[in-house]
Each structure stands twice: as C-alpha cells, then as structure tokens.
C-alpha cells in the first residue's frame, strides 16, 4: 500500500500546569489512507478538537509523532509548516473563521495568494470553487451579509480551492440547519468521490453514517474504530449515478 496520508503514533496532549493539568489526548494512534473518509465522534471534552488541531498543524502535541505523507511534522520549521498548511491541508472550522470585511471571493482567493498563485488564475479557481459550493451569485458578499450555511460553504470553498490532499473539518455542520447540512455533506461526498481524504468531527449519527470509517474517542483515547465502507469507492450515501441500481 502507498504511504498513508496521515499517521499519528502515540499522540498525547496536556494542557495547563500543576492542579490545572488536563490530559486532552492520552496516546492516540491512527493511520488514514488516501481516499478514506473518517468521522471522529465522542462526547464533549473527549479531545476531538484537540486531535483535529494537531492534525491540521494548528497546534503541536505534547508528545508523539505525526507524519503527513511520510514527512515528520515535528521536524519542520515555521516556514515549511506554513507551506504544508497551505498546500496539503484544507481546514473547515465549526465557527467558519472567515476574515471579516473581505468578500467571499477574496476570502477564497486568500490561500492561493499565500501560495503564490497568479492573480488571474486565482480568481478563476476561486470562482470555480464558489460555483462548486453553489455560491456563484454571492461572490461579492462579505461574511456578515451571508447566512451561516452560506458562510460555511465559503469556508469549504476556501479549504478545497488549493486542492489539498487532506480535508479536515471540525463539526462543519454544528451550526447549520438540515438543508445546509445536506448541502455541505453533499460537497464532502463529491470531494471524497474525486479522491480527497476527509476527516470530519461530528456529534450527529446521520453525519457519521456518511463516512467510510467511524472513530470514537473517550477521554483522549480511541475506544472504537469501525469501517463502514471500503477505502476505495464512493462513500456509503453518495449519489453514484455511474453504478446503476
């Protein structure tokens, strides 16, 4: 088998000092192959976000190793980490995290600007990404002029516009209604069909059902790792028109 997209070994994360010490992760090991669609579930405070932030290179573990496509993240300097975040990882936050007072288009163009993509190509790709999430008619709107679902779709467009190999989403549907949830998850299904690796945190069972694999965390440990569908092929709920019923 090829090099896994991501692989963590014995990851632990401790917050605080002395009496206030919190063990958010206690030895997590996980390997995700290319093309997989993983849902991470668990009670509130079980360490899901902590794990996700480390996977997204937004935070560093207290101990343990983390490899992305075979590269040890811990050995990278600040500049390479920035390149890694920019090229390999797309991150969707629960709270959208769009930059205020910048149009949807400018927000989506931003990662490409930092990646050194030329202005014309940047614009074309950003428009294509916004079109893909169904927001072609909202490109000039600023975040505060968009609904929550629309903002989240802009965030998804921003995450996928650099064509990262790994898409990470921390409760991307937590703030959305059913219709918006369906839209966003539909996009994830499509992305996975087209070969993107996806890791998503969720509380909702019907969101988890759409993943190929469900990992459960309790108290900073993985207690259950269940495969629902093979890594190759479409996710369970994806509309697959090429396979006749």
């Amino acid at each position: 088998m090829s090099v896994p997209v991501l692989s963590v070994r014995d990851l632990s994360k401790v917050y605080g000092e002395g009496d206030a010490r919190v063990h958010a992760l206690r030895g997590v090991s996980l390997t995700v192959e290319r093309g997989d669609y993983v849902a991470i579930m668990g009670a509130s405070g079980s360490g899901k976000s902590t794990l996700m932030n480390i996977l997204g290179c937004l935070d560093v573990p207290s101990s343990g190793r983390y490899l992305i496509e075979g590269t040890d993240v811990g050995s990278l300097d600040e500049r390479r980490l920035a390149v890694l975040r920019n090229r390999k990882i797309g991150f969707v936050f629960q709270s959208f995290n769009l930059i205020p007072r910048m149009s949807a288009l400018a927000n989506v163009e931003l990662p490409m600007a930092y990646g050194g993509v030329g202005a014309a190509e940047r614009r074309a790709r950003a428009l294509a990404a916004l079109e893909r999430v169904g927001l072609a008619d909202r490109v000039r709107h600023e975040p505060n002029e968009l609904s929550g679902g629309q903002q989240q779709r802009v965030a998804v467009a921003r995450a996928l516009v650099t064509a990262p190999s790994l898409l990470l989403a921390d409760e991307p549907t937590g703030n959305l209604d059913t219709a918006s949830t369906r839209d966003v998850l539909g996009i994830f299904d499509e992305l996975n069909v087209s070969g993107r690796t996806i890791v998503i945190i969720t509380h909702e069972d019907d969101v988890a059902e759409r993943a190929k694999r469900v990992v459960r965390l309790v108290d900073g440990r993985i207690v259950d790792d269940r495969r629902q569908a093979p890594v190759e092929g479409a996710p369970p709920r994806a509309r697959t028109p090429e396979v006749p019923a």
């Binding site: 932030n53 997204g56 290179c57 937004l58 935070d59 560093v60 600040e78 500049r79 920035a82 390149v83 890694l84 975040r85 920019n86 090229r87 990882i89 991150f91 936050f93 995290n97 769009l98 930059i99 205020p100 007072r101 910048m102 400018a106 931003l110 990662p111 600007a113 930092y114 990646g115 050194g116 921003r158 650099t162």
Partner: protein, 416 residues
C-alpha cells in the same frame, strides 16, 4: 508573496476599517504638525526678538535723563520739562555733556557720540498729503552708524549740514510711502511745522519692532530740529557707540565717570541719568530666549509624546483586535513574513500618510503670522517629528504583529 501583493493586502486591511485608519492618520498628523509649528513659532519669535535688539544698534550705550520718565532713548526729553522731576538737584543732558563724552583722553573707548532730540507725533506735509511722523529725530550723522540705520536711496546728511543747520531730512520707509507713494522722495520738500525740509535719503526698511513701527521716522540735523521745533533745550538722549563689542563696559564706565563729574554726583550717589547698555541687554535677552526655546521644545516634546502614545495605543488595539484574523491567515498557510509584512506596511502607510500630511499642514500653517510673529520652519524639526512618529508607528505596529504572527495558529484563533 510579492511586495506588491503585500502592499495590496495592507491597503485592503486599512480600507476594511476606514474610521480607525483615518483617526490614526489624524493623530499622527496633529502630533507632527504641532511639533513643527511650535518649533517654527519659537524660532520665529527668537529671530524677531534678536532682530529688534539689533535694530537698537550695535555696541551702543543710550544715555538718558533718568527723571524724564521716558523709556530707553528718552522720547519725552525734547519737550523740556525742567523742574518737573522729583529731584531738585537733577540736571538735564546737554549738548555740552555730549561734547565732553567725545574727549579722547577721558573716554578712549568711545567711538562716536550722537546727541539726540526727539519730537513725537509731528505732522509732515507734502503737497497736501499729511502724515504724522511718530518719531522726528534731530541728531548728528554718527547716529546712523550707531543705530544701524542704513540709507537705501539718496544720501545721509553730513557734519556740514549740522554745522549749517540745513533743513535736510532722511525719512523711513513708512514716511516715504505715506507721503510720496510710489514717487521718488529724494529731492522733494516736506513741510514740518511750517518749516520746509528737503528729503535727501530714504532708510532701508527695518520692519516693525514690537508695538512700534521702526520705519515711521524722520532724521534731521540736530540744530535744524532745535531751531524749528523743540528749541535749544536739553537733549532727549545721547547715543554713545563704543569702539568695539569688547569695550562697551569700559565705555560705560568712562561715560559714567564723566557725567558723574559734570552733574556733581558723589560716588555712590543717585545719578540723574541712566545708561542702557546694548550688550548687557542682548545678553539678558539671549538667555531669556534660551529659556523660551527650551520651554517650547518641552511643549513640542510633550505633544510628540502624546501623539506617540496615541499611535501606540491604536496600533496595539489594532493588532490585538486582529489576532484572530492573524490566526485565520496562519491556519490557511500564511507565512510569518507575509503577515508581518502586511502589518508593517499598514503601519508604514498610516504613519507616513499622517506624517507627510502633518508636514504639509505645518508648512501651510507657518505661512500665517501669530501675534505678529512669523513662524520660521526649522528643517530638523520636520525630520525629528516625522522620524519619531513613523518610528513609533512602525515599532508599535510591528512589534505586537510580530508577537501575534509567532503564535501557533490555534493560540491566535483562541485569542479573545
């Protein structure tokens, strides 16, 4: 990321909060303009004061009767007033006093002596145009040199004119303008109290010295004014010019000795005249100007400091407020250099725009005289004000931005 791209990001960042950008710029503008203007005002004031002193003459002593009640120069002396003083023993200054001062043996430090009689507010008429000359001075030719009065057009009157009591006149700029307008005054006849005087020269413009227009003067030979206007009474004052800058004190001692003897003043007694020493005055005023300049400098420094704290405050608030934004930018792969570049560029654009606008405002403002003083812009104050405000803007824009850019993305994102 290219420089151009960073500049675009910075401008977009500034445009995203126009009011704050505007207020920061305004703060810097005011700070810079205040410093430049204050320093310019101080410089203008000290120059004008120095100029006024120089107008009084160089290395001169002004001797005047002390009970006459006049200021330096004894303006009231020409009208007599004998017996009106508080001291019965007191004597007026006479032409003989002046002659005694020219004694080379007793007064070796004296270069020239000019007796002066002054008539104030005398009407002069030329072909129906009348002008009240605020100072009509009757004196000797040495007066011109002693008091730095330079004839610009025409000629001085000479000793012969004094001896012959010729009715000739050298007029100041104001008198020339008022009486003759654009016409050349030299050679024309002016009537003062019914006596015709021929204008022989026009003085170079001196500018106003304080309240008084130093150009509203007419200077004539001493006997001419005595004959026609004041009578041969006492002198208003005697202008004594010392041989050099280093001898004014010696000259003062010599003059004191001669006059004490002539007026019968006992050693240690109260003199009935007084001597105004130009050099001593200049010294006093110079030190006063020094204090004045230091004071203005302190005010300027304080306004720069306050402006600097304002810039610091806004920059700190800006960066703190935008730490989350920095986190987002880092999370999507912005290198630290790009973030720092953007914030530094924002700070530079703000401080430069504010600073340059401040310089422009100051330059425009310094064209208007305040309380009769024309501000003089000091170039180094521009450099200082610009340098300090831009420096503060860059440091306090750059330092917190650098700190925020160093954070892990998640720390910046969690920042409240």
């Amino acid at each position: 990321m290219s420089r151009f791209e960073i500049l675009r990001f910075a401008l977009r960042g500034l445009a995203a909060n126009k009011l704050r950008s505007f207020l920061t710029t305004l703060g810097i503008l005011i700070g810079v303009a205040a410093v430049i203007l204050l320093v310019a005002f101080g410089e203008g004031a000290s120059r004008s004061i120095q100029q006024n002193i120089q107008q009084l003459g160089s290395n001169t002593l002004t001797v005047s009767a002390s009970f006459a009640g006049g200021g330096p120069g004894g303006f009231a002396g020409g009208r007599g007033g004998r017996g009106g003083g508080p001291r019965t023993q007191a004597r007026q200054l006479t032409l003989d006093d002046a002659r005694a001062l020219t004694d080379r043996a007793q007064a070796p430090s004296v270069r020239s002596v000019s007796p002066v009689v002054t008539a104030n507010g005398t009407a002069a008429v030329y072909e129906g145009t009348s002008h009240t000359v605020s100072q009509l001075v009757g004196t000797y030719p040495s007066y011109f040199e002693a008091t730095n009065k330079v004839v610009e057009k025409g000629a001085y009157f000479v000793n012969d004119d004094v001896v012959a009591a010729r009715k000739v006149m050298v007029v100041g700029r104001t008198v020339a303008d008022e009486l003759f307008g654009a016409a050349d005054p030299v050679g024309r006849q002016v009537t003062v109290s019914g006596v015709p005087f021929t204008v022989v020269g026009v003085l170079r413009e001196a500018g106003s010295s304080g309240m008084q227009d130093a150009d509203d003067v007419a200077i004539v030979p001493l006997p001419a004014v005595q004959q026609s206007l004041t009578g041969f009474g006492p002198l208003g004052s005697i202008i004594v010019q010392a041989t050099g800058a280093g001898t004014t004190d010696a000259a003062q001692d010599e003059v004191t000795a001669i006059l004490d003897q002539r007026h019968g003043i006992a050693p240690g007694g109260v003199a009935d005249y007084r001597i105004l020493n130009q050099a001593a005055l200049q010294e006093t005023v110079s030190s006063t100007i020094g204090v004045f300049t230091a004071l203005l400098g302190a005010v300027a420094a304080i306004s720069l400091l306050v402006g600097g704290i304002g810039i610091t405050n806004i920059m700190l608030v800006t960066v703190t407020e935008r730490t989350r934004e920095i986190g987002i930018r880092k999370a999507i792969g912005a290198p630290r250099s790009a973030i720092l570049g953007q914030f530094l560029t924002e700070a530079t654009v703000l401080s430069l725009a504010g600073g340059l606008a401040g310089v422009l405002v100051a330059l425009a403002g310094s064209r208007f005289p305040v309380a009769g003083i024309q501000p003089v812009v000091v170039p180094s104050s521009i450099a200082l004000a610009l340098g300090v405000s831009v420096g503060i803007g860059l440091f306090f824009g750059g330092y917190p931005a650098n700190r925020a850019a160093k954070l892990r993305p998640i720390q910046a994102l969690r920042h409240e």
